[in-house]
Symmetry: C3
């Protein structure tokens, strides 16, 4: 795809070539994300940070990316949109915003809402999460983290664990991994299995995967990457089943050390007990670096859609 002027709306819009390009640009901009050098690449550009639903983490990542490339940011969060909501269509919001800024990063609780703004606005729109819909920059930073931590993506054995049924991040990551020669291991209780729409997609793309409920066994069997997610109580009708599983799907240092010595441990964060703090000491504990990688990846997307690389 031609990135200049493009909207970034879904993981499904990328070819493998696109993914390689994004990761390459992110790699090149990483020195600014790591605060080793300063940049004025996006000087004179303004980004609107429209977070109809608060997400301080994602918002800060976008705003840091823009700021560290020399750009500026105008922000609106949460409640404040009451006034915008007041009867205005998302179409009109898009037409309005294109006057103000050069690029829009937008999060909204309703699926499809970001697409609607993107259709109306002539400036590029980046989806920062539209409820149960897409969150493409999260998937891109996950892929980038695998690439940076392991030095490659092809040939890896990657386990995704926890809530694979409802977990938006693991679904989106699978869409991207469909372009690679990887072996996937889905580790989830029966109630939270990976849905067919994802396994079908992987079948079509010729990606091999296995399914198991045995978290400890999956680690012991040796995977290159372990991507953990949270199991949420509200998903279970049988609460005692939840209590049992909650403790099974907890990674601590001892358990992590039964896996490959260079196993990369990932998590979209925030974690709430799924990964014990003693895991932080391990060289493979990549979840904070993963969050940090979001800055380089968002820098890359901003620079690319603004036609500055």
């Amino acid at each position: 795809m031609d990135f200049k002027g493009a909207d970034i709306l879904t993981t499904k819009q990328f070819s493998r070539e696109d993914l390689e390009k994004i990761m390459g640009v992110a790699r090149g901009l990483e020195k600014y994300a790591l605060k080793q050098e300063t940049s004025e690449l996006l000087k004179g550009y303004v980004m609107a940070s429209l977070f109809y639903e608060p997400s301080t983490r994602t918002r800060f990542s976008f705003e840091t990316a823009m700021n560290r490339l020399g750009g500026k940011v105008i922000t609106a969060v949460g409640m404040e949109f009451s006034s915008l909501y007041k009867g205005e269509t998302l179409h009109d919001t898009g037409k309005m915003m294109e006057n103000y800024v050069d690029v829009i990063a937008m999060r909204h609780p309703e699926k499809g809402s970001v697409d609607e703004v993107a259709r109306a606005a002539e400036v590029p729109v980046i989806n920062a999460g539209d409820g149960p819909g897409q969150h493409p920059t999260q998937a891109l930073l996950d892929l980038y983290t695998i690439y940076v931590e392991q030095g490659k993506v092809d040939g890896l054995k990657i386990a995704l664990s926890g809530d694979l049924k409802y977990g938006r991040t693991v679904h989106s990551l699978c869409v991207l991994l469909g372009h690679y020669d990887v072996e996937l291991v889905f580790v989830a209780p029966e109630e939270l299995k990976m849905p067919e729409k994802i396994t079908n997609y992987l079948d079509e793309h010729g990606v091999k995967y296995t399914e198991t409920e045995d978290f400890d066994g999956a680690i012991r069997d040796g995977v290159d990457v372990l991507y953990c997610t949270r199991i949420q109580k509200e998903r279970f009708t049988d609460k005692s089943e939840y209590e049992r599983l909650k403790s099974v799907f907890v990674l601590d240092k001892a358990k992590a050390m039964t896996g490959k010595s260079d196993m990369t441990i990932m998590h979209p964060l925030p974690r709430v007990g799924e990964i014990a703090e003693d895991v932080d000491e391990l060289a493979g504990a990549a979840y904070f670096r993963q969050a940090r990688n979001g800055i380089a990846v968002r820098m890359a997307l901003l620079a690319m859609v603004l036609g500055k690389v």
Copy 2:
């Protein structure tokens, strides 16, 4: 008036010469508002964006203006002011803010509140709307839009339609148009007629106006500018009367095309059905450009009160 260091509080403070000056400066800065060039005119200056009442649209317009001229912004919105409210007088808020910033853009739900801050603060204060009071920058961008779209203001026939009784924007625009040789047509149902304080003002300024309830007829009769506003349900005791009028005062493409071929169509936005989306296709549909013009006009005011032009 001498703009350097001045407060911008009300449409009544401007002479025709002042208006011409603001529009001239706005014209000169428009290339920055249109993102064609970047500017550092206000580098080193900081604006406080104090929105006691959220208005994302107006706030973004001010902040974009400041940012695109190289200035910086500190922002506080809505709820957050609970702490400031905590017993502090607006006088003290003004004395406090003058320490922090070079200029203040302020919106507040209470009439007269912005004046109070302006009296206390030594730095210029720009009224971004004080409840039922004034919203001078809106009127200035409306006037500027007429000027830019039609190439002049004198000699034009301008229709204002909808809720002329309570509509703050149409009242403020009339105050500015009082300085021009224009012919006004007030198109409103009996319940929402232009109040006497405005018609008296126009009489004093020798501005001709006619009044009608016939929206379609006013368009067919041929006006250069049609400024639409919303009719709000809560204004009516007889709700069936509201239902009848609501559909009468809707502009669609077919209706718009019965008017002059170069008729400029304006609206303060947000629209909620008063202008159908098919009107957007017309060359004269100026409402999104009107919103965009707010940036150039606010740039002009900021630069002028800071003494940079």
Copy 3:
């Protein structure tokens, strides 16, 4: 202490030498705080402004300091943290934030919370108030104000009046004044006397102090500095006692003029009647300058912890 990379968490961490250093740097940066010159000293640096509890005044002071030294700011306030709260530990918040920014200014309603983030984050953290805990930058700007207004600190007679029992600012200021050769006068009703932990601290540091309930007398007796604070109704079980004292502890111009002609009058603001507006006319009325001094002091701290002075 070595300021580069250091956290600023409590007034207790400073030696007299540290205090002199901060005040010296603040003095040097004051021209930027006073908007007389612009600076790019912190260009390329980004500060996170994390205000879990809104405090527009303190936040604006930090953000103005950062902006006027050429740095950038990303901000999150109040409600928005709901998402961060969602189970994430302050430890993880610190680990997350260190990726985004170069320095953190943080306010939080719970004592010790800022320390927790500081322990986790590798970047410097500045405590902007942790509930009933510490608010070191307020104490530093108070000390700096005394120094600037009176030209020295040693040798001064300083009265602290109002709610000395619960007033966080007066306690913190006492900790700093413990390093100086000053004479203190505590002016408070019996119910709101300075607590022993502070008087013991002063005893240990050899600082002389006297205690009185006579507000008028203390002024007449002649003090170089009068630091007023508010008496809050909720502190009293006997509300009639509150009503009596409230009016006693009010400073007006006439009363102020019974004191030393060059008496410096301070207040942490906001004031709610404790200082009448006619006091503002006096040359010694320093409370708005005191607020302004917060910018220079915070500039100094930011520049020092970032290793730029």
